[in-house]
Amino acid sequence: MSYLLSQLVNGLSLGLVLGLIAVGFVVVFKATGVLNLAHGSVLLLGAYLVAKLHEPLGFWLAAAAGVLGAAVVAALINTLLVRRVAEPNPGTFAILTIGVDILLLTELTREIGNDVLSNGAPWGADVVEFAGVTLPASRAIAAVLAIVLFGVLGLLAARTNWGIGMRAAAADGDTASLMGIRLSRTSATGWALAGAFAAIAGVFLTSFPATGVTPSVSLVALAAIPAWVLGGFDSIPGAIVGGLVIGVAQAFAVGYESELHFLGRGFGEVVPYAVMLLVLLVRPQGLFGGKEAIRV
């Protein structure tokens, strides 16, 4: 029972971190209609900056620099590249971000080399215990922080001009422009927020129990894509729920691997994608996504 509970808690805490990445996909998609496949390398960039800077600056300043750096780079990707594409449509946007991802990831891989960089987080390898469940301190902090950030994002989306602008852009970009909404600002803010959230997730994904910053961390952002798709493409709560579903499914698949042996070794890595395909078979629009209305 306590094993089950601890797997569940582990899964939920991982799911909240995945949710941080997944809401980044949602915000970028709503504000600019872009499937951002460079999200993973922006996440890696944030984590890398923290790991590089924590010795000279101390962890907290380095974390701030990493988050800021990822936010600025994400906003620049949007302003300098995405908005200048010769043929703007979702397909070209997606492929452009693949190009950006290749550039950023290749350069970061070269910088990191074969090293595993520590990010020097003050919580180190501590664990917290409550109700008989042990959880790495990094995960517990990540979970609390993620919930706070989701609250902030929800408020931003519901109560600020930026949130209104984003929803207007998602509904109809041209009309929103005509109504005086500055899409350049709305979209840059969306990208910057997504980048900042990714960097925060990156810091926790490279803390204990993970070993540190390696290029493969960017693959974790890919595991957040199923979370995003599951929740429906344009729903922030959907992305959070999707993250939780994927996190729990992955924790159970890893935790009960011996019983799931018939599914093959290393099934935990595949679980997010398997769950996504199953959900899409039943509900192509995802769990929370509105069914797309097509107007002629």
């Binding site: 010769a86 397909g91 492929i95 290749i102 290749t106 891989t109 080399g113 290393g266 994608y273 002629v296």
Partner: protein, 366 residues
């Protein structure tokens, strides 16, 4: 659109194509083994890229799962021609049959995915198909009896009765004083398959089916209102592109002569997207050119990295060949999408129109 292109393509384009074909036929007489091997990889990639450009360019569906179907083709071929009674399963079937079966099985896998492929469009399909690559990798690693697991298995060379596309049977074969060993023989096999693939794709593009697909791409509602079954059309083109991927995968297995799960990962899917984007999405010739570029560049940079002063050895922390080629891809994609509408094919088309237009005006004036 396509008719205008075929008509205006006219003589210069045909001449260009003819020259390329002549070069492809004659080159093996002079090339050394490295270049022959590189050529094989390039032609295998051409087949897969043509399939993807039909899906992405003609029908407007994005796929990140192409590597999965390439893997299906590669493993199908390898299992079917494998020697029976070894560590891994082999059926010992004739290679020609296995090559056809590789396309058929990959096509069936694509058809199985059609409940999803038919209902999703554009980037949504791209995301869903992302899952296939990871599921595929899991299968390749775990179905050890078929795939040889993580370390992979070796691939039997292609052969028809009485003639093998390897260094033996006949043991010595020479054309115009050049010995034709396995690589030379395979070159012509690959060229034939690639030409067949391109010819069929041109046929599809200019047929009823191709026009139906293009209209689905432009507007699903408009397509449905003129009687096109949108779901079937999307499922069909997905299946067709999987068949291409399967055949391309079988060729890739032959060129590698050993296959392992890591060859069919997400990076391969992305490579294929890069090929068709550089060439110009939807253009068969463009996809072929892109495929040649993307598959040749890293091999050449790795081969000649010693001679290039700005390149260093792998692992020394400097700029090695593989890293440089990835940086070039990334930059090329971004540059093409920002500045070169329609990729290489689109650029060439506009260049030709600019060259042709003044001359026709002169004729009118005189």
């Amino acid at each position: 659109m396509s008719e205008r292109m075929t008509r205006s393509a006219g003589v210069p384009m045909l001449a260009l194509g003819g020259l390329a074909l002549l070069a492809a036929l004659a080159l093996p007489l002079w090339l050394d083994d490295f270049w022959l091997q590189t050529g094989l990889f390039a032609m295998a990639a051409v087949v897969g890229a043509i399939g993807l450009t039909l899906l992405v360019g003609v029908a407007g569906q994005l796929s990140l799962g192409h590597a999965f179907f390439i893997g299906v083709g590669a493993y199908t071929y390898t299992v079917l021609v494998g020697e029976p009674g070894e560590r891994v399963l082999g059926l010992g079937l004739p290679p020609l049959l296995a090559l056809v079966a590789a396309g058929a099985v990959a096509g069936m896998a694509g058809a199985l995915f059609s409940p999803i492929a038919g209902r999703l469009r554009g980037i949504y399909l791209g995301l869903a198909s992302l899952g296939l690559v990871f599921l595929g990798r899991h299968l390749w690693i775990n179905l050890e009896d078929l795939t040889g697991g993580f370390n992979g298995r070796s691939v039997e060379p292609f052969a028809v009765p009485g003639f093998s596309f390897s260094n033996h049977d006949p043991d010595y074969l020479a054309v115009l004083g050049t010995e034709f060993d396995g690589l030379h023989r395979q070159w012509y096999l690959f060229l034939a398959v690639a030409l067949l693939a391109a010819w069929f794709a041109y046929g599809v593009k200019s047929s009823r089916v191709g026009r139906a697909l293009a209209s689905v791409r432009d507007s699903e509602v408009a397509a449905a209102s003129v009687g096109i079954n949108v779901t079937t059309a999307k499922a069909t083109v997905f299946t067709l592109s999987s068949v291409y991927a399967g055949v391309g995968g079988a060729l890739m297995a032959l060129a590698f002569s050993r296959i392992a799960p890591d060859s069919f990962g997400l990076l391969l899917s992305i490579d294929y997207l890069v090929m068709i984007v550089l060439g110009g999405v939807g253009s068969v010739a463009g996809a072929s050119a892109g495929a040649v570029f993307v598959s040749v560049l890293p091999l050449v940079l790795a081969e000649y990295s010693a001679q290039l002063p700005f390149l260093s050895d792998v692992g020394s922390g400097g700029l090695d060949g593989a890293t440089l080629s990835r940086l070039i891809y990334g930059a090329a994609i971004v540059a093409v999408l920002l500045f070169l509408r329609g990729g290489l094919a689109g650029g060439l088309d506009r260049l030709r129109q600019r060259l042709v237009a003044p001359t026709s005006k002169e004729t009118v004036a005189s």
